[in-house]
Symmetry: D2
Subunit: 359 residues, 4 copies
């Protein structure tokens, strides 16, 4: 396994869904950052299960403890360790899964790869572990705010309900106004309706989250293998259930002509571009425009329906539809997307300090 | 900059478009691999500029030299260094660009980040440097063939010409039968027609490449941060002009219900899945099905039309349409996609040797 | 800061002397290892403060908790997190040190580098944090035992009392027979006498620990930058108070002639060497002989005597001799040396699985 | 194999003794450094074989070519690749060694580990490859000079001839005045005499090199695993034939009392220490005093005498004394020690830019 991400600012993730706790070690955070721990708590609550009628019923308070790296309220440069205990675990709900492989879950691949796995609640493969990432992201966001950089995300698609307005036409401050985290009220309502319907059917659907990083200085990203979007994409694809990521014009841009797609430079106090099909990244380096990306999440694999599958001996069997789960993962994944984006960006901010001869 | 990729099998990339040479150091290749150097040559020729009427006219023979790591035709475990000289450089073609920022190129971001850049032919940001990656990929492919793993890619979209047949209905061996590298002859002809037309207009278009990795053992991938698709995605997004990547059902799968999307396990001598919406990866680990992914390339930024832009002092100016370039990058990018996929997969094959207590 | 060590088997260290806890995340441990947790406890007790009259009086029970990575008593391949709470902290003992720099401690360098430090008990710079390393080392030792590799260390010098017998003439099983961890009873008694005397004087002395790794397979080590002894040396120099490390003949070997120093190969079922001036490593790779090394520890910097120094404003002041400390660090450092050696060796054992084409 | 060293400033080493060339890729060098290539040449000549009567007769001009990363005389931030062709190779001299293991060389360990090796001149295990390191070090030195940091080394022991004066009593500028690179003329002459005598006998001896890094800012080093001396020590132990490294008081300091050994802080415009037993490093971080270290080199393994050994089938045989070699490696190793120290220090200078919240 490989549970450390980053070059200078690094997170090491640990924990299982139904173990004692999940958590994270954040290493490389500069010293002297006055830490707002209430913000960490509020970010964790955004990711919290049981937060609304369209999320899983698992009820975690998401209380956390910082056990290292902070002194008198400020970071010391030492590794920051955050522990988030697992409280509302119902391991017995998973006893019937010890020898059965749930379709499109990681049961089979973990069993085959490691030969020995914790099957309770998905064990290490559970999205529960992203609680630690969100906690680390809450610190990264505080770091970024010192450079004025802002990371925001919102739900732009749930199933076939698509938010078609361009993000510039939206007020992203409204994202938290509804339980689906879509800043357009009308679309949000359609999404909630759809998710509620799907939930009733015991089924699930996928969704898309759009990320927008604004007030980005020119020059973040480390070509040719740690290009800004490549590393950001890596972090997005690390999130459970993500099947795709695109930047700027993405897959749609393929159809355009170069003459349309090219982002003409516009003179001014600061050089800007007229359009932003590049999504804020050119040659793997931020150009000062908003970094815009979209992340595709597959339908949640746990459904309330019986499914045909095989057991660990390879025999046909049925996995029963039970347990607690989300009918659609994207509302709770918004803070995860933001957290991963913030961690990656903060690492690049630090790395960018070493690009030129003189600081 | 960060020019090394991989954990055990690592490539370090170097060189500029109009420098003496481009190249690569491949470290961590197991000892004892009988190297087929003709295969390296043939792979380089697939990426070669000037290979057809729909590619750039730059004429490189892509002769290469292996200056370390091989003894009596076999790898020794030592780093393998491959040098590919730049011969057909016309640096003067770029003199007018020293102080001008080409739209949607990396001129501006490199200048701002580094304060000093080689503007000839894009310098370090040129796709010329992927020649080294293709050479390393040709070795990785030979490594993978020892495990029976096969990496293939083909053009599945050029502009709005889409290859709609599922890849299973195609004969991928036909990919090399035409200059656009689309295995379906009819679609290939449409693509060639479109690219030819676009080229006449002095314009460019984007495209999509589909990758298929077959005969993959179960168990490749290192969660939670080096998941197979996350690392593969990282490598794809490192390729010049790539704006998006998706696995299995990708962005389309978002609209599906979990009950449709889940890949039911099917009993048998080897456990298989009925469908493959997962794209061969579950929980970040290969499940033995084909790994299927799609990579979006934006329209080539260099066009044969004058464009409004700014110069390095921030004043408005015009960049003239001249130079040699591809009207559509995907035909030549097919071997690059395959190379990066092969390098990543081979690294995972080595890493997978250390997962369990006993080899 | 950089708190992660290793390539495949990695430890991430966290915690401060007087914080809530110290601990470690061990990532990359192969799945399926039946873990003996009592052994972890016994190793921690070997490092425990307050274990004898010649160690510090700080009294930690060294109770630990494994909060991730283990399921039904066996490793799962997931990161293993071990927490060791700090119980017997007397932070008030350190209040007078907030603005004073203790000579030859890390107070000044941490303050200057980070601008903000936890001054209680040395904070992050305290040897207390090696408790986590010892816990991880106890797991690494269990891994190594599967390959038959044995890691042992003992005190070979305390101040000017030198154990002059070659290690082959000693019974290393006797190392734990006395409180100074020297396997030769007579020398041990001299060492204890010296340390007791030095303690009475409120002073401290240094010492040397010899490490012996036996039953090592040929082929461990990754030239040219992760040579076995270079990486092992790195880990030794990471231990608090270490000022030097040498392998085989070390500094003494400098005076020898090549004709004496060369280790002649001897035929046999297994190729062996007649002598072992190389210390078991040739060209950075184990040759199958015992890996032998010596680690020099400086005298403990905390003394029970007043010392001239400066305060954080740069003014002359006196630091008073008080607090709890070891008069000589080597008896308690023996398990730390063994732990770091075991972690490094286990990483190399895993890496060696990827050297050749076939496993 | 693992041929990359460093975190932000990284070198990747490649090449074999009798291959086409040896070389290095230096990645992460800040952009805008005006490169003095004559200095690179002069450093290479200091390491050059055949430079005096007490070195090997192999005659390399050490001409080098920079094939990437430099534009108009300045670094661009892109990887800098330096190639140093092998010209004076006499591979036939090594034909008799294909199946024989030279004692205390890496023949046996490479053969066993990799199963396939280049036996000419030691192949990858040859000190020839340090030419690339010296070239990279010459760039690192130029980087360091921007921060005022100076790296110097000299021979302080050859066999039993010891330079007993403290380095402060020496004029290090005189190091290059004699062929043995000892700044004390009288001792230098004794060393030369000894080496000449040993050479006549067809034998070899070892030596010690002392390194002094001066004008070091406070705050370099990244605890707890990339402590300044641990990482520096790692790089020293990576140099061929090195068997030990010590910092400050090193192994001798073990005998001292804490009350003597502690470096009292002295008030002043800049805080200094009265003594420097710490060798300029406290808690793994530079304290502003000179960083002082000693590196032990074993006697050269190649001797002009027949030696008993075994062949690759395990049978007893004799390896004949022939070939070209150094009777004592330290005179030519002085620039290598400086180069590795410079590379490590420059990396730490870059990393230190990211320690605090504000640059």
């Amino acid at each position: 396994m490989s549970n450390t991400l980053g070059t200078l600012l690094k997170i090491t993730s640990f924990g299982e869904s139904h173990g004692a706790a999940v958590g994270v070690v954040l290493d490389g955070c500069p010293a002297g950052l006055e830490l707002n721990t209430e913000f960490i708590q509020s970010e964790l609550l955004r990711r919290r299960p049981g937060q609304s009628k369209i999320t899983t019923a698992r009820n975690e308070k998401e209380e956390f403890e910082i056990i290292s790296g902070i002194f008198e309220g400020k970071t010391t440069g030492a590794p920051i360790t955050i522990i988030i205990p697992n409280n509302d675990t119902r391991s017995k709900d998973y006893d019937h899964l010890a020898g059965v492989y749930r379709p499109s879950h990681a049961d089979y691949t973990y069993q085959e790869k490691y030969g020995h796995r914790d099957h309770h609640g998905g064990g290490r493969s559970s999205a529960r572990i992203t609680a630690g990432w969100v906690a680390a992201g809450a610190i990264a966001k505080q770091l970024l705010s010192k450079s004025g950089i802002k990371v925001q995300a919102f739900v732009s698609q749930a199933g076939n309900v698509v938010l078609s307005k361009p993000y510039k036409a939206l007020d992203l401050a409204k994202t938290e106004n509804n339980i689906v985290r879509c800043p357009d009220e009308e679309t949000a309502n359609q999404m909630i309706e759809l998710i509620t319907e799907v939930k009733k059917q015991g089924d699930t659907i996928g969704g898309v989250i759009t990320g927008v990083i604004s007030h980005v200085p020119v020059g973040l990203g480390e070509p040719v293998f740690d290009k800004l979007h490549a590393t950001l994409g890596h972090s997005m694809l690390s999130i459970n259930a993500v099947k795709g990521v695109e930047f700027g014009s993405g897959f749609e841009g393929v159809k355009m002509r170069g003459s349309e797609h090219n982002d003409a430079f516009v003179p001014g106090e600061k050089i800007r571009t007229k359009t932003n099909y590049s999504g804020g990244v050119q040659g793997g380096i931020s150009n000062g425009e908003d970094i815009v990306f979209r992340v595709a999440f597959k339908p949640v694999a746990t459904i309330m329906k019986d499914q045909d599958t095989v057991d660990s001996s390879g025999k046909a069997t049925t996995v029963m539809g039970k347990g607690r789960h989300d009918p659609c993962v994207v509302p709770r994944a918004v803070p995860i997307v933001e957290a991963m984006a913030a961690i990656v960006l903060a690492d690049f901010v630090l790395r960018a300090r070493t690009t030129k001869l003189d600081v």
